[in-house]
């Protein structure tokens, strides 16, 4: 009961924040009814996906302060579980998604146990390495289609809510929006939970945290598992939405870095940070990427711009856009 109350408790944010959040929600709900291009719709779907990725990343990367640059491996596990189960055994999305989350979380325990013996940069590097190794394995594993990946079979009877196959994007949009809202409420409960508080204690001083009865290693593993469940869930969705997955687009280092960067840009360790980050970077990436791709010789320049953004965050405001908002208010609350 208290967990549910915690999930709906936004009382530590001022009314202004909640008004803005409410307006954003109304906009999201109404978006498919507004005039929009299919490119804009695709961008909105990307925005919701990356918000969810970022919310997940934020548990371990933000609240616990452990910079994780290997989230893509779990996107891959989620996406491949759904794809393989659908291609080979005709299993609906709503069954394969929880299976994918469970497999990813199971894998995260195996990876997390040794990984969290490492600290700081060593941890970050190790997360990259484990993710890349998994990607390489998938590229040579015939059962999952190797480097070519998998194509989901079209079932033909649109709209198919069981297998998540739709002709119109707004179906995907609303299903993802429901996941987004559920994910947001879960994170809001998470930051109010015992684990949420303990992680924030761990972030700044592990010695003090341990002296307060906190099993630091185990707490990090648990937070890592929560983060993993989020990205695996979105990974499953990604497989159905794209109809086609391959190791390169689900498990690449680019994706891992983007996930971390969105959350950091918006504000690591804050509730709204990942959403703010995604709302800035996703449109930028879509429109900049397509524009630069069209200009001869400029493709890839967007990567340079991301690099500059990372440097800017590190130098100007490590707490991201949300940190700037708090600095303007002169208070640092509502984490």
């Amino acid at each position: 009961m208290e967990a549910i109350r915690n999930a709906f408790d936004f009382s530590d944010f001022p009314r202004l924040d909640m008004t803005v959040a409410g307006a954003a929600l109304v906009f999201l709900l109404a978006f498919p009814a507004l005039p929009h291009s299919s490119f804009a719709m695709a961008t909105m779907i990307q925005f919701l996906m990356f918000s969810l990725y970022g919310m997940g990343w934020n548990t371990i990367g933000g609240y616990a302060g452990q910079v994780d640059l290997g989230k893509a491996q779990y996107v891959g596990i989620g996406a491949y579980t759904t794809a393989v189960m659908m291609v080979r055994w005709d299993v609906p999305f709503w069954v394969s998604m929880p299976v994918g989350m469970a497999l990813a979380v199971g894998w995260s325990f195996i990876i997390g146990y040794p990984l969290f013996k490492l600290k700081g940069h060593y941890f970050a590097i190790a997360t990259i390495a484990t993710s890349l190794v998994l990607k390489d394995l998938f590229e040579v594993w015939d059962f999952v289609g190797g480097a070519k990946g998998l194509e989901l079979p079209l079932r033909g009877n649109f709209p198919d809510f069981l297998y998540l196959q739709f002709r119109e994007d707004y179906y995907y949009f609303y299903i993802l929006l429901a996941m987004f809202l559920a994910g947001l409420l879960f994170i809001n409960g998470f930051r109010h939970s015992r684990l949420g508080y303990q992680l924030r204690a761990i972030k700044d001083n592990e010695d003090v945290a341990r002296s307060l009865g906190i099993n630091v290693h185990w707490c990090k593993i648990k937070a890592y598992a929560v983060a993993t469940a989020y990205v695996a869930m979105v990974g499953s969705f990604h497989a159905c939405y794209n109809f086609n997955i391959e190791p390169e687009d689900t498990m690449s280092l680019d994706l891992s870095v983007l996930i971390a960067m969105m959350a950091m840009l918006g504000g690591a360790g804050s509730l709204w940070g990942p959403i703010i980050g995604a709302s800035i970077l996703v449109p930028m990436r879509s429109y900049l990427g397509s524009w630069l791709g069209g200009q001869a010789g400029l493709a890839g320049l967007d990567l340079v711009i991301y690099g500059a953004i990372i440097m800017l965050i590190a130098a100007v405001q490590p707490r991201g856009v949300w940190g700037m908002v708090e600095a303007v208010r002169g208070r640092r609350r509502g984490v």
Partner: protein, 247 residues
């Protein structure tokens, strides 16, 4: 049966023996001071007792249980809390939320943890600081937050590592009164290391003196300060005349 029993505890760092077969006890309603000159091994012993360091030899018993193999977070759950010389709270949490982290040792409920935190902030006279960040408080109040955080974990024994360091005389006075109240009203046993002698003398029922990693004296504060070996340890051989007999 003593609440805490330190039995022949040794701690080596490489070739350096920081604690050499030290034994002492703390009773369930006692306040014990651990004193000694700089480098005597007080903080090391503290860290061994609290499970922060593994001991190199000997055993530590708490509440009838051998806690020697336990880690610091497990020791805390049994009811042995500690403070650090330099308290660094989470910069993401307010004062009250930091204290809640201590309370979460005993409960999973945010409501209960919040109530427990407010209770201790009130008891320590810093209830008005609950919504602030730790960095916004003066040092003396930060130390009270550290105390509140440790106390919120419901300990039977509290280890205090130089809580009076950096405080002025009036603040030390306030702290002594506060710790006396914690001991009397909340029934906590205290073990403190301290450089500020007024504080040790005013609070402790018994004092254990360390020098160069060994225990050189133990007894009531008034007796211990007269012990020639203790005087020598603090002042050095050349200041102690021959009649005290430690050439």
């Amino acid at each position: 049966m003593a609440l805490l029993e330190v039995r022949e505890v040794s701690k080596d760092f490489g070739g350096l023996r920081a604690n050499d077969r030290i034994s002492f006890q703390v009773g369930a309603d006692e306040v014990v001071g651990l004193i000694g000159p700089n480098g005597a091994g007080k903080t090391t012993l503290f860290n061994c007792v609290a499970g922060y360091y593994p001991v190199s030899g000997g055993q530590v018993f708490f509440d009838g249980q051998d806690i020697t193999p336990l880690k610091d977070f497990q020791v805390c759950r049994l009811g042995l809390a500690r403070t650090f010389q330099i308290f660094q709270a989470s910069g993401d949490l307010s004062v009250a939320e930091n204290v809640m982290v201590g309370a979460f040792v005993r409960t999973g409920s945010r409501r209960k943890a919040r109530a427990k935190a407010e209770e201790w902030l009130e008891f320590l006279g810093i209830a008005d600081a609950g919504g602030l960040m730790l960095s916004e408080l003066p040092v003396a109040r930060q130390k009270r937050v550290a105390l509140a955080t440790a106390l919120a974990s419901d300990p039977k024994l509290l280890l205090l590592d130089e809580v009076a360091a950096g405080l002025n005389a009036a603040e030390v006075d306030g702290l002594v009164k506060l710790l006396t109240r914690i001991h009397r009203e909340k029934g906590l046993a205290l073990l403190l290391t301290e450089h500020v002698m007024e504080m040790v003398m005013a609070l402790s029922h018994r004092v254990v003196v360390l020098e160069s990693g060994r225990k050189i004296a133990e007894g009531e504060p008034a007796q211990v300060v007269k012990d020639p070996e203790v005087i020598r340890a603090y002042l050095g051989d050349h200041l102690v005349s021959g009649e005290n007999g430690h050439a």
